[in-house]
Amino acid sequence: MFPVPIEKATKTNRVIYYSSVALVLLLWLIPLMIITLAAFKTADQLNAGGRGFVLPDPFTLTAFKRTLTNEPFMASILNSFMVVIPVTVISISLATMAGYALSKFRFRGMIIIFAIFVGGNFIPYQVLMIPVLRLTQDIGIWNTKYAIILFHGAFQAGFCVFFMRNFISQIPNELLESARVDGATEFEIFYKIVLPLVRPAMAALAVLIFSFVWNDFFWSLILSPISPSGMLAPAGLATIIKGRFYNEYNVMAVGSILVALPPVVLFFLLQKQFISGLTMGATKG
């Protein structure tokens, strides 16, 4: 049975469909609405029980001011960018090249290599906690950004290679062969033929990897120092803004919004490519 576009369904079905979409959307957004409301409240109002769906009284931007002037927290957001951007670049560029090789060339051990990339995705990452920690300590990069960058760059590559290989294998061989006949070098084929065609897939991957790594708490906790200077944003949210005894919920709300923003912004920027990248990659597995 194939899905029928909702516009062609019966009227009752359409009403049920749209109202349940609205309902689920509302349920989904309730926590976000509460957090947004809390961001504009005073600490006193929250402490006195003014939580949930209560309008800010008085309306204040203190929490924003306090968050934006919290230097360690803002530094942790910057740290996150300095980790996440290299990781995204490393894993996607490696994966595009590897995916190209694995889908368009035949060589000994090809299946094994591909299996290793894919198999990496099935290892529960908690298992790797101690080996990776020891490895980074042995090569002397533990407690630095390089540890997280290298680890995520390598570990995300598994999924990226899987994704890119399937995508690139859809490019007709004739295209590459005609380029070869015209005298293009292998590098030119990759750079001038393959890359432009896989750009949507790369954009989709970029959004995925960016948000995976941005939201990662586990590895930033293990590989990077929770020392205030080297912390990443999720850890910063959990440790800088959260107090020892007392939590300023309005400041935490602003912090949560700030931390959640970058992946959302990136998603909207690359939305078109993201959707087409996902569906195009999915047609042939």
Binding site: A43, N47, A48, G49, S227, I240, R244, E248
Partner: protein, 410 residues
């Protein structure tokens, strides 16, 4: 493989800073003061020490305070530890001391005369007659109450536990909960247990219990729980306390639906100004008039790990840090009390009241610091169960005792 490793190593070695030699050697400090203001205060003290000792190369490593609680084990087990580190007094350090992981610093205590100037916290860092750390900060627990509500309902500060319970009944009749408490995260209930046990059985009994030497089915503990049940029966505690965190339970106090809160001094700073003005503090009233009034006063310390590399520099820093003016500066930032009698008296009235009370008391740390974490977790859950179902007291005590004998044996 080795070559790759070497390559990576040398690559990152480029980014490292090579330090020039210092004649006085090195001093490594591991600090858990990671919140902005305490961190600054610690950095200021270290800078002062560095200025006074330019020949020593001082390194301050700050770790986030929750992560530090796990990191301490790595620090203590490493071949080369830091020379000075922060931690907590009482049973939280006792296990490490017993394992020989803390260095004996009795000689610094003797040469600095801390036996006199820091006598109130001395027992919390003394094991087998030797001192293994220097306290630098502590704060009081007690009953924080709304004067205006007490006045409006015609009640006054209770001199005895019976008066305290009478107050509960009067307030309850007027629709006000005497005591605000949020037990969602359990530890607030342990505060009540600590105080009722301290007042019923005294400090020494309490400490033995915390160390697992006394059974929870012992008559003394049963009496404590009976006294606790009296407060529950008198309707002292606010309703549905199991649904609130300690912070959420401030709301009834602020809104005038509850009259008091048994909590640490950290509650004051974040209350709205109007509430602060109405707020005052009293010591938990006596239950058995013959018992000395022991107090909960969680204490923070600096110590020297047994694996310290620069023992002399470490001791020098400890002595420097514990100078009254440094402790005053640090505690002004923390909003806590300096354990040194030479420190300036605090100007804040709550701190003043606390300092006065603690200078006359012997102190425990707090339930979850005095006993092992495993024991604390199990017992605190059962204490909250008890507050909800006081009639199943004996079964609950037997369950706590089961945990105790499993954890401590005997």
């Amino acid at each position: 493989m080795k070559i790759i490793k070497l390559l990576i190593l040398s690559f990152f070695a480029l980014g490292m800073i090579i330090n020039s030699a210092f004649a006085g050697g090195k001093l490594v400090i591991a600090s858990n003061a990671s919140d902005a203001a305490p961190r600054q205060a610690m950095e200021d003290i270290v800078a002062k020490f560095q200025a006074a000792n330019p020949d020593i190369e001082v390194v301050l490593n700050t770790t986030e305070h929750e992560a530090f609680k796990t990191a301490i084990r790595t620090i203590l087990a490493a071949d080369k530890g830091p020379d000075v580190a922060t931690w907590f007094a009482g049973n939280r350090m006792a296990g490490f001391v017993a394992d020989g992981l803390f260095a004996d610093v009795s000689d610094v205590w003797a040469s600095e005369g801390w036996g006199n100037s820091m006598s109130s916290t001395m027992p919390s860092v003394t094991f087998n007659g030797k001192q293994y750390a220097v306290p630098f900060s502590y704060y009081q627990w007690g009953v924080y109450y709304r004067k205006d509500i007490y006045d409006a309902n015609g009640i006054s500060i209770p001199k005895t536990y019976d008066e305290f319970l009478d107050n509960c009944k009067k307030l309850k009749a007027n629709g006000i909960a005497s005591v605000a408490i949020g037990t969602k995260y359990l530890w607030t209930a342990a505060g009540w247990f600590d105080y009722i046990n301290l007042r019923t059985n005294g400090l020494d009994y309490h400490i033995d219990l915390m160390l697992g030497k006394t059974k929870y089915t012992d008559e003394g503990v049963v009496n404590t729980f009976k006294n606790w049940a009296r407060a529950i029966d008198a309707g002292c505690f606010m309703d549905d306390h199991q649904n609130y965190s300690w912070q959420e339970a401030q709301a009834p106090l602020i809104n005038g639906e509850a009259a008091s809160y048994l909590i640490g001094n950290f509650i004051v700073a974040n209350l709205p100004e109007e509430t602060q003005e109405q707020l005052d503090f009293y010591q938990f009233p006596p239950i058995d008039p013959n018992m000395e009034l022991g107090e909960d006063a969680p204490t923070e310390i600096i110590f020297m790990p047994a694996n310290a590399q620069n023992v002399e520099n470490g001791k020098k820093f400890m002595a420097f840090y514990a100078q009254p003016e440094n402790l005053t500066a640090m505690n002004n930032v923390l909003g806590q009390l300096s354990p040194h009698s030479g420190s300036a008296a605090p100007s804040d009235r709550f701190q003043k009241a606390g300092a006065e009370m603690l200078s006359k008391s012997k102190t425990a740390q707090f339930f979850d610091r005095d006993t092992t974490p495993e024991m604390a977790k199990a017992a605190m859950q059962l204490m909250v169960d008890f507050m909800l179902e006081p009639e199943s007291m004996m079964e609950i005590l037997e369950e706590i005792e089961e945990e105790r004998s499993r954890i401590f044996g005997g």
